[in-house]
């Protein structure tokens, strides 16, 4: 319950400040524009590149948002207040994770539409694309929210976050790209499902580990 209160409060703060969302959406727009120009007008090229572009843009923009989730506490100097709340501290992580997860899904949906328009991603297969986004986005946010919390007190946190997160999320990004490629090129449903299963396993393992490790990590 407290995790939900925290997530909703962060959403309200982000909505009023809009600093993180604006940066992430602008970043996505710029990446898509540059990639779109770089791959040229050839439909086959664009179709092949689309899934990679989608997940690379989402991963980088997601790191920006993950950093933002904790920056709200740094900017307002309110991290101590969170740490002084009674009980175990897993809920702080879950609250930040929920906040980031909601933003990632909104951003992912927006990105799917843009990539579909420019890179010929078949929006007719939207339920499958959405499941991939859900599973891949969850794996990504679980890791990003954890490492953003780990580095929140460090001065070089923005640089460190990318260095720590990207090696860890490689399996998630690869599986998500493969599933999206399968959807784009009409692969057999069983093949797509196998990638979803892999993503589901990553999600469960990462989530369990991060929830267990977080209280020790956030202690000063």
């Amino acid at each position: 319950m407290r995790a939900l209160v925290l997530a909703l409060r962060d959403l309200r703060l982000e909505w009023r400040g809009r600093a993180g969302l604006l940066s992430a959406f602008s970043f996505i727009a710029v990446v898509l524009f540059i990639m779109g120009i770089a791959f040229g007008p050839d439909e086959a090229n664009l179709r092949r590149a689309g899934p990679g572009v989608l997940w690379v843009a989402l991963a980088f923009a997601g790191s920006m948002l993950a950093s933002r989730a904790w920056a709200l506490e740094v900017e307002n100097e309110t991290l101590d207040d969170l740490l002084l709340t009674p009980g175990s501290r897993e809920w702080i992580y879950v609250g930040k994770l929920l906040f980031l997860w909601i933003l990632m899904l909104v951003m992912g949906a927006f990105l799917l539409v843009l990539v579909a328009a420019w890179f010929y991603l078949p929006l007719a297969a939207w339920p499958q694309l959405f499941v991939t986004l859900l599973l891949g986005g969850t794996g990504y946010t679980v890791i990003a929210a954890f490492y953003a919390g780990l580095t929140v007190r460090l001065r070089a946190r923005d640089v460190l976050l990318y260095l720590l997160v990207f090696p860890m999320i490689l399996p998630v990004v690869l599986a998500a790209v493969k599933a999206t490629l399968g959807i784009a090129f009409g692969a057999e449903f069983a093949e797509i499902v196998s990638w979803w299963k892999l993503l589901g396993v990553f999600d469960v393992i990462y989530l369990t580990l991060c929830v267990l490790l977080f209280p020790g990590v956030i202690e000063g």
């Binding site: 407290r2 209160v5 925290l6 409060r9 309200r12 703060l13 009023r16 400040g17 709200l72 900017e75 307002n76 100097e77 309110t78 101590d80 207040d81 969170l82 740490l83 002084l84 709340t85 009674p86 009980g87 175990s88 202690e219 000063g220």
Partner: protein, 208 residues
């Protein structure tokens, strides 16, 4: 004899190579208001943060409410810390900050209650904290303390930026908390310490 709420025994804390606290021992019992005095950089704020369990000393033992600091869970909700300046979410209004702080501490309150306490400490409703002056932030911190009802209140230079009315309210809140708990405050103002404290601790270089 009243129960000790804070027990620090031979505490050492350093940042990098610089020792800030050295061989520091302090016991605070129920009903006490302890004023930490001393020049800038002597470790008053660090000591408050050690007591609040926000930083861990390199050596020594910290016990709060009769338990080792690391073992605290529910008891952490009994600690109230007012930093200097007090921390609030700038994009939220005063009453929203109060509601959020209490809800996250597991003590949700109604909007009416938050507004009533804000009125009590002389704050207007509906204004974002970003538009608050330093004194208003201090008053909002008092309102939060009144609502949370901590057993152990830690205040870092609480009297600064407050006008006479604000100081009177502050003294009232400190005495109210001390009735059923204890207060530790860091200050440079000897006059304020004389007024409010039951004990004064003069800190010197690297410790008390």
């Amino acid at each position: 004899m009243p129960a000790p709420l804070v027990e620090l025994e031979n505490v050492w804390k350093r940042f990098g190579r610089q020792w800030v606290l050295r061989e520091l021992s302090l016991t605070v019992t129920e009903g006490e208001v302890v004023a930490l005095l001393g020049p800038n950089g002597v470790g008053k704020t660090t000591l408050l943060r050690v007591i609040a369990t926000l930083i861990r000393p390199q050596r020594g033992a910290v016990r709060l409410f009769g338990k080792p600091a690391r073992a605290l869970e529910t008891e952490r909700g009994w600690i109230g810390l007012v930093a200097n300046p007090p921390a609030f979410y700038r994009h939220l209004s005063g009453e929203e900050n109060l509601e959020q702080a209490l809800a996250l501490s597991g003590k949700p309150i109604a909007r009416e209650r938050a507004l009533a306490v804000m009125e009590q400490v002389g704050l207007p409703a509906g204004r974002a904290v970003a538009a608050y002056s330093s004194g208003m932030r201090k008053r909002l911190a008092l309102a939060r303390t009144l609502l949370a009802g901590p057993r152990l209140l830690l205040l870092d230079e609480p009297e600064t930026a407050l006008d006479r009315g604000g100081r009177e309210e502050l003294v009232r809140v400190i005495r109210q908390v001390a009735e059923g708990g204890a207060v530790v405050l860091a200050t440079h103002d000897h006059g304020f310490a004389e007024t409010v404290a039951t004990r004064q601790v003069e800190m010197q270089g690297a410790g008390a």
